[in-house]
């Protein structure tokens, strides 16, 4: 199975962007030793999301919307680490998140970046078996702390509307 991991070298992928001197996660590499813990994977996704927001907010007319998106989704992404952030994720899940990170790192058009501020959290949530809507409500204090069962990709929750997002019809 291939596994997408980090590349700290911005030159490794053409056309990507580097923001605030951060390394970009724009390539799919094998065996670089990226952590597959939930906490580390989610942290990479959150950092990439912040970078994307930095590009998107250059569209001045949409600054408020960009801010609203980030305020809503960034805590939701972080909450995907769940109650057991040290747990190891499957290789498939880690690869999916890192590949999605690589995809948004290639975006240079700030208007497209705004589109992806909406799309990316759902890709990460889908890959990790969590709900970027539900988990954010938990962190907002409306639904309590998410528990590990919310993020168990091996046990679909039949009552969850997110079951459909994971592939159910």
């Amino acid at each position: 199975m291939s596994e997408a991991v980090l590349s700290p070298d911005p030159r490794s992928v053409g056309g990507g962007r580097a923001i605030a001197g951060r390394p970009r996660y724009a390539s799919t590499v094998s065996d670089s030793g990226a952590s597959n813990s939930a906490a580390d994977t989610v942290a990479r996704a959150a950092e990439a999301y912040e970078d994307l927001a930095g590009l998107a907010e250059t569209v001045e007319d949409e600054w408020q919307y960009v801010t609203d998106l980030v305020d809503a989704y960034l805590p939701s992404i972080r909450a995907l680490a769940g109650a057991d952030p040290g747990r190891a994720l499957s290789g498939e899940a880690v690869a999916a998140v890192d590949e999605a990170i690589a995809e948004i790192a290639l975006i240079t058009d700030p208007h497209k970046a705004i589109d992806w501020l909406s799309t990316f959290p759902h890709l990460v949530g889908l890959a990790l078996g969590g709900d970027v809507d539900r988990t954010s409500r938990a962190t907002d204090g409306a639904g309590g702390e998410p528990d590990a069962a919310d993020f168990d990709t091996t046990e679909p929750d039949d009552d969850s509307p997110f079951r459909m997002l994971r592939g159910g019809r």
Partner: protein, 225 residues
Amino acid sequence: MRFQDAAKDARAVVYAGIQADPLVARAATLLERATTAERLLARAAMNGERTDPETWRRIFPTLFGEGATEGLRGHAEQILVASLEVAERGEAARSQYRGAIVEELTARLLASRAGPAEPVKRERRVLFDGVRAEIHPYDVTLESAARPEVYDCKWGARGINADVLNQLDDARAHGADEDVDLRVAIVVFDARRSCDLRLDRSTANHDHTRLVALEALDELKEARL
């Protein structure tokens, strides 16, 4: 109140060519029977930077990974292929294709529940007594004599703006003035939460305008507004 075909200006003629492209019909047919995850795949891949399918298969392990059933994987693969064909049209054309696909999908979902006397049409204006006609036509209409419906379709939540919301609400209000129960809705191929954020900031009246976001598209075929 009555419906009328929109005038064909140059933009409409060019756009009609895109609407008639078989790729639009194929994508809409696939998305009509898609899961939310598959629709999310379409949204991502049509708007992606990379067009190699293996990248997208890795991003969506629930559709293409070890746990996916043969049937799900096969259908998702067709959606991926169609989505990447849209992406391959280039940045300028793909936005028009995406819009046309959302409109076609909306029309198909509505048609699945429309009765024989309730034609589903595209690019239609709505005329009211004593009211100047809106310039922009509605993307999709369900032209029931008793309970007509009009829809504006958007690829992303950013498409939700005051002009669109005001036009929809004005139509509803003018319909009410004529004792017509005109239902108005905006269909957005984007996450509900992102749409809600957009609507929350809007000062345009949208209390009676229904939002149908990506996760709930199937509601279009299951129940009237």
